[in-house]
Amino acid sequence: MKWKLGDRVETRIAYGEALLELGKHRQDVVVLDADLQRSNMTHAFGQAHPERFFDMGVAEADMVCTAAGMAATGMIVFATSFAMFVPGRAYDQIRLQLSYGQENVKIVGVSAGLTQGPDGATHQALDDVALVRQLPGMTVLNPADATEAYRAVVAAAEIATPVYIRLGRYPTPVIFGEDYQFEIGAVPVMRRGDDIVICATGIMTALALDTAEILADQGIETSVLNVPTIKPLNTEAILDAALGKKLCVTMEEHWISGGLGSAVAETLAEVRNTPPLLRIGVRDKFGQSATADELLEHYGLTPVHMAESILNAMGE
């Protein structure tokens, strides 16, 4: 693996690298993009394998169904655009062709979340996980760093069912070393503490670890779970970690409804004696244009803000 712990790398970079590697070894891998290949890092695959790369134009619905037809004819297809447009623009197609039809297509939504940045709310997907999470037979992956993203892309290629992979363009610190074994459904425990548990996904995992440091200074011991597989959710791992704690916290770069926060809420609600839940994410608001860091600050998603929210919740 080419990334060192602490390097700040966008997960979309790892996607491009993983595709190149997959393309070398597998003749059945096809990559589609809807006119964002230089942003989504699929361009290099296109250069290396022009016969297996297609710019589908600005036509996401068509792209998803074309991908399904290719998959039905023996290919494994990575259909890529901004997370705003797949799933958003092609939800009906994803539901019918991939979920109901169980075609072997990997939908890759890049530049997800607030940290898409300057383009503003129109391009900041905060609902993509909510859309795909409810679909039967879908696997939903939201990797935390470049290493995990690379491994998640490879793992997605190894299963013959549809997958949604959520990626970003925020230079997030690498938190997994070369020896990291990614497994769909596994929930790595990043830190152990007895007072509260944080379930974090995507770029929020690194921020959750920083939040835990701040809380430790206040005498609060925090467990941090990294939850890259939002569906199927490993409810056992989450319940194991949550039971007996004073508070369970979810952290996601997504609206607090429909994503990881909802998934954990559903899990806790069906079990007795679970701790109260604090969902951290974007609360019923759109994003706006700014730098990624300004947006994380403004929407209360920095470690300082999140530690404060947690302390408030514990005080209640």
């Binding site: 036509a59 619905a61 169904c65 037809g69 290719m70 023996g74 290919m75 197609q93």
Partner: protein
């Protein structure tokens, strides 16, 4: 080239399919009568004249593919597949019943012989493009057919796909439009005008052929012609009559998806069992 003997056989098959469609749909339950009847000759020509297909092995990699993009008329495909032996004839009466493999709209995971899940209109041509493109990568040498409704052409995705087919010069692809001029609630062109329809497809880079969609000779010739076209996809625009073959349904949008009475059903069965020429 289709000969007279084959044509007579195809006409008999089309009559038989119509009989089975009405028989399986029965009285008292809503079904997509109109559009299922308007495509009978198109489906007959595909399965019983043109397509390379092994009914004993419907998943054979070398088969020609037929994507029913207007998914609501899949009953016609069911009866064709049953006649070929891909589906058991005795399953036909289970159409749309709990637990049946014959869903109201196509599910390719569930029903042998189907290629795609459709029913949300506008998706099938994109799917067919995907098959045609993958077949080219894999050098499969197959042909891909896709049947669209004319009301379905209101869906913008059809035109996204149509641009893709010609851009990629998919001459292994042949689309067919069931131009029966009626959608669910009335005239197609009153809601959004499709004309000039042939010109639209040509402007999108397609080779377009117009046929009488109930004339098997014309349909077979058009399918043969499509196979000879190089460098572009072909569309066959088939002028049809919604409800064709059952006089009281012909040209009536009300039978798009509606129940018929016992008396109407008996009348339809009587007409279809007379074995009269449809054309």
């Amino acid at each position: 080239m289709v000969d007279d003997l084959k044509l007579a056989e195809l006409r008999a098959t089309a009559r038989e399919l119509r009989y089975h469609i009405i028989n399986m749909m029965g009285a008292g339950k809503p079904h997509h009568f109109g559009g299922s009847l308007s495509i009978v000759e198109l489906v007959t020509a595909l399965y019983f004249y043109k397509m390379r297909y092994d009914a004993r092995d419907p998943r054979w990699d070398g088969r020609d593919r037929f994507v029913m993009s207007k998914g609501h008329t899949v009953p016609t495909q069911y009866v064709a597949l049953a006649k070929m032996g891909v589906l058991p004839m005795e399953d036909l009466p289970t159409l749309k019943r709990l637990g049946s493999i014959l869903q109201g709209h196509p599910n390719a995971c569930m029903t042998p012989g189907l290629e795609a899940c459709t029913g949300s209109l506008g998706q099938g041509l994109s799917f067919a493009n995907g098959i045609a493109m993958a077949a080219r990568i894999r050098h499969l040498g197959i042909r891909v057919y896709c049947l669209l409704g004319d009301g379905e052409l209101h869906e913008g995705q059809v035109w996204e796909a149509a641009m893709g087919s010609s851009t990629h010069k998919l001459d292994n692809l042949c689309a067919m439009v069931d131009r029966n001029r009626l959608k669910s609630q009335g005239a197609v062109d009153e809601a959004k005008s499709l004309e000039p329809l042939t010109g639209k497809w040509e402007a999108f880079g397609w080779h377009a052929i117009s046929v009488d969609g109930h004339n098997l000779c014309q349909i077979c010739d058009a399918l043969d012609e499509a196979e000879m076209v190089r460098g572009k996809p072909t569309v066959i625009i088939a002028e049809t009559v919604k409800g064709k073959g059952v006089p009281f349904m012909e040209g009536q949008f009300q039978f798009h998806n509606a129940p018929i009475t016992r008396k109407q059903w008996e009348e339809a069965m009587r007409v279809l069992s007379l074995g009269e020429e449809v054309v």
